[in-house]
Amino acid sequence: MSAQTAKRENGQNLGREGLREFVTVTIHGQVFGIPVLQVQDVLGPQKINRIPLAPAEVAGSLNLRGRIVTAIDVRRRLGLPPYEGQEGGMSVVVEHNTELYSLIIDEVGEVLRLPVSDFERNPANLDPLWRDVTAGIYQLDGKLMVVLDIDRLLVFGKAAEAA
C-alpha cells in the first residue's frame, strides 16, 4: 500500500499541496491525528482548575500565558476510561472559533506529512460516537491513525443538543 510513503520525510516529491500535516497523539493506545494547522501549542501536565457544573467532558480551565483555555478531557469525550498513567497527561492546544481549547491526551507523538490521496473514510463499523468526532483514517506502518475532527470534537453538551 501507499502507506510506506506516509512517513515523515517521505513523499517530498508529491508537492506540498498534495500533503496534509498532522500532529499525532496517543490516547488509550490509539493513534490520533490532529491537523497541524489547528494546533497552537503542546503542553506538559498543567494545573487545571475544575469548573463545577460544566459538562463532564470539560476537565476545567487553565492559564496559558494569560489566556484562559478550556481543557477538554478527550478520553471522556471519546467514551474511554480515565487515564491511569503516573503523571498527568499532555495537552494539545487547538483553536476553534477564536477560542483556545486544551485537549488532554496521553502522549504526543511526531508530526506526519501524509498525502491526501491516502486519506480514507471511517470504516462503517466504527463506534457512532467516534464516527461523529473523526474525519477519517490513515493507514500507517503497523497502525491506523484516526483523524480527529476538532470542530466536531468540541461540540457536546447543550450545544450538541441544540445542533
Partner: protein, 1030 residues
Amino acid sequence: MGTNLSVGMAKDTEMDDLLREFLTESNESLAKLDVELVQFEQNPNDEGLLSNIFRLVHTIKGTCGFLGLPRLASVAHASENVLGKIRDGELKVSPAAISSVLESIDKIKHLLEVLEETEAEPEGTDQDLIDRLNAIAEGKDVTPAGNDTPQAEIVAAPPPAAATGSLFDQLGGEAAISTAVDIFYDKVTKDEKLLPFFEGVDMERLRNMQRAFLTMALGGENTYSGRDLRGAHAGLVAKGLKDIHFDRVMTALRQTLSELGIGEDLMIEVLTVAERTRKDVLGLGAPAEPMPAAAPKAEAAKPAAAKSPALAPKAAKPKAAARTPAEPEVASQDSTSKESAIANQSIRVNVGLLENLMNLVSELVLTRNALLQMVRGQSDSELNVPLQRLSQTTSELQEGVMKTRMQPIGSAWNKLPRIVRDLSMDLGKKIDLQMHGADTELDRQVLELIKDPLTHMVRNSGDHGLEATADRVAAGKPETGTITLNAYHEGGHIIIEVSDDGRGINIEKVKAKALKNGLATEAELEAMPDLQVQQFIFKAGFSTAETVTSVSGRGVGMDVVRTNIERIGGTIELKSVEGRGTTFIIKIPLTLAIVSALIVSCSGERFAVPQISVVELVRASDNSDHAIEQINGAPVLRLRETLLPLVSLRRLLGLESAKGGADIAPNSEKEGLILVMNVGASTFGIVVDKVYDTEEIVVKPVAPILRDISLYSGNTILGDGSVVMILDPNGIAAKVGESRIAEGEGADHLVGQVGQHDERMALLVFRAQSTEPKAVPLSLVARLEEIEVSKIERSGGVPVVQYRGQLMPLLSVSTEVCLKTEGRQPVVVFTDENHSMGLVVDEIVDIVDDRLKIELSAQRPGILGSAIIDGRATEVIDAGYYVSLSQNDRQGAAKQEPFGSINGNRTVLLVDDSPFFRNLLTPLLSVAGYKVTTVDSADEALSVLQDGGHFDVIISDIEMPGMNGYEFAQAIRSDERWGKLPLVALSSHATPADMARGRQAGFDDYVPKFDRDAILNSLSETLLAVRGAA
C-alpha cells in the same frame, strides 16, 4: 458622535479637515439644540436657555458662511431670525414657531448628511421652509406644514431687513459695520507689531472683504465668499503671525467696538465670533502645506490679520518662504497654550486604539496581581516600595482607560425628548417623558448599539402604549401619559427600564394573534401563564401584522429590538398589567470590565464574587448569635429583622460529591461564612467555607461551551496564576428562587406517601398565656419582633407600638392583653397589605417542620384547633382572625376594602378539603371584601352550582380526595352555564409544570397555597380581567 465615528479613515484624509470639524461640531450642537428647544418650549421664560439656543444656531450659521455653504446658512439664518425675535420679546413662543425651528434643524441635519457624503451641499432650495420661518418672524400665524405665498415677499426683501434679530442688525447694519471696519483698520495698521503683515496688501480690497465678512458673520446678507479666500491665511502665518499678534488684533477689535458704543453683551458676541477663528488662523502655521479648506475659517477671527495675507498672496510669498522654516515651531507653541482656552479640550481617537489600550491594561493588571502575590508575606522585600507604586499607577491607569470608554447613557437619550415631543404633537397625546439615571455610564460601544432599540421602544410606548387622551380620561387616569426611562447599575449589568402608564397588553388579543399567526396552538396558549403570552410580542410575526397596533397595543419591531439587545449579550423582559401600563426591562452586561471581587472558597475550589452585590459578611455557627436554621430543609438565617434565605455554594455547584474530604467540617451545613447578597429586589445569603481577600479581576467571558451555565458570569486569572470562575449573583438569585420551589415539591412528595390530607409545612411554635404551645404556619408570619416594653403605648384602650412609621396594634390570644412589665416583649407580626398587627406572645419556642393535621377543632375564635406538632399537642392559631380583629379595632378600617371597591359584592366559592385552609382563607377573603362560601369537595361545589348558587370566582385546591382540582376545572369548563367563571387554583405544588397543567385544565390562575398576597392579587386580577373582557 455617530457622525464622527462613521467617517471612515480613508475619508478623513481626503475630506478637508475644516469641513470635517465643522460637521462634527455642528452635529454636536444640533443634538443639543433638539433637547434645548424642547425644554424651552416647556419653559418659555428661561432666558438662559433661549440665549443658549440662539448662540448655537448662530454659530452654525456663522460657520456655514465661512465655508461657503449658502443653503445651510440661509436656513440657519431664517431660524435664527425667529429665535432672535423671540429673544427680543417681539414674538411669543408657540408650538408652531418651535416646530418650524425644529424643522429647520432637521433640514440642517439633512443637509449636513449630504455634505458629509458628497462634500458639497445638495442642489435645491429650502424656500418653503424659509418662507414659513420668516412669516413666523413677522408674527404671522403659520401652521408648520402649510406654506402660503404672502410670506414670499419677506424673503424677497433685502436680507438686512429680514435679519432683524441678528447681530448684524443689532450692531446697526451696514453703515455701522463699515464704520467699524474703518476704525478697526486704522488701529491695526498703526500697530507697528502688526504692520509687517500688511505689507504689500491692497488695503481697499481688504476693507471690502472685511465688511462682507463681518456682515455675513454677524448675520447680515451673505455676499462674502469664504471659498475664494481659502489658502489666504497660510501666508499670514508664514509671515510669522503668532498668538501675540492675534491678541493685538483682538484688542483693536474690542476698542473699535467700544468706541462705536456697542453694548457689552453684543461686544462679547462679536469677539467670540472672532476669537473662534484664532486656532484656524494660527493652526496654519503647521509645517504641512497650507490646508486650502482651513483658510476660510480664519477670516472669521481676525478680520484684520486674517484678511491681509489673503490679499497679498503673491507679495507675501517670497518672505513666507524665507521665514517658514524658522518660525512654525514657535508659532505652534504659542498657539497651543491659548488654543485650549477656546477649543474644547478633546481629541478624537480611533475606537480600536482604545480597545487595544484596554486589553493591554487588563494584561498589566494581571501581571501586577501576579507580582503582588509573589511578594505577599515578604515584608522586608526591597520590591515592596516600587511594587506599591506600580500597583497604584496601574490602578489609576486602569481607571483612566476605563473612563475613556464610558459614556453616560444620557447621550443616547438626547434625541428622545424631541422624539416624544413630535410624537405628542402628531398623535395629539399629552406625553411626559421622565428620565432617571441619565448619568449612568456604560461602555460606549454598548451605548451605540442600544441607542436605536431604545428610541424605538420609547416611540412604541408613546404611540401604542399610551392611550389617547380621551381614553385616559375615561379610564380615570391623568390626561398626560408618562413614559419613564430609568437606568442603573446592578451587579455587573446595566438595567434600563422603559415604562409607560398606558393601556398595557391585552392578553386575549395577543393570544388570538399568536393563534392566527400559528405561533402556538390553542391548548398551548391556554396552558401559558400570562407572562409567557406577553412574550409573543417579541416574535417576528407580530411586527408586521396589520392589526397589531390597534390590537395588542404593541409589537411593531419588538423582535428587532430583542434581537439587537440579545446580540450584545443582553436580555429584555416585559411586564405588563392591562390597564396600568407596560414596563420593558433591558439588562445589558458589561462585557469587558475590571471589577472588584471577593475571592471565596468552597470544598477547596475558589471562586470570585463581584463585590458590588455583596452587602455584608456574616459568620454563622451554632454558638454565635447567627445560627443557620432549617425550614423544611431550606436553610435560613435570622438576620436582624429579616429572614434570609440561604443557599449553600457547595450544594449549588454540586461540590460535595467531588470532595468528601478532610476540610469539610461534619457540621458544615450549620456553620460557614455567609455572603449576604443583594441582587435587584432579592436578598439572600450564600454559604461558603472561606473568604480570602478582594482582588481586582479582569472579567473574561467563559468559553462558549460553558455559556449556558447561568451561575457564572465569566472567569478570570488570579494573582497566583490560577483560573477561577466568577459567580453571577443574578444567576444564583434565580436558582435560589427555583430551589425553594423544588424543596417544596420534594416535601410534598414525602407527604404524598403518607397521606393526601396532611400538609407538611414550617410552623412557628410559641407560648402565649398558657403553657400549652401554640403554632401558626410560618408562611403567614411577616416577622418576629422584640419590642421594648417602654415603647408600647395605648390608643383607644388598645396597646399599640410605633412600627415602621405606622401604629401597630398589639393583640393577644385572649381578650386580655398581658404584656410584660419590663424588658422586651416578643411579638409575632402579621402583615396584611398596608398594615401590620402584632400578636403578643410569651416566648418563641421553635420553628418546626411538621405535618399539620388538626385533630380537634376548637370553637374558640382565633383558634383553629389542636394538632400534634413536634410530638406535643399544640393549638393552631387562626392568623386571619387576628388580622381582621385588628382591622376592626381600627377606626373606620373595617370599611376599608383593601383591593378596591370592586370586591365589595363579589362572591367566592372556596373549594378545599382541608378545614385549616378553609378557616384560614375565609377570614382573609372576608376582610378583603369578598363574600365567601366554602365547600370541602369538588362534588359538593358542583352540586352547589347545580342548585343555582351564583359566584363571581371559584378558588379550588388541587389535591383533594375524590375529584381533584384538575378534573373539577374540566367539569366546570365543560358546562356552558358556568364555563366562563374565573377559576383560581390553589396548590402547594407551584412548579411551572403544575401551573401549565392547571391552565390546561382551565384554571385562569395558579397560586401557591401559602402566599396570602398572591391569592388576593390573583383574585382581584382575575376578576379585573373578566370584567375587562366583558
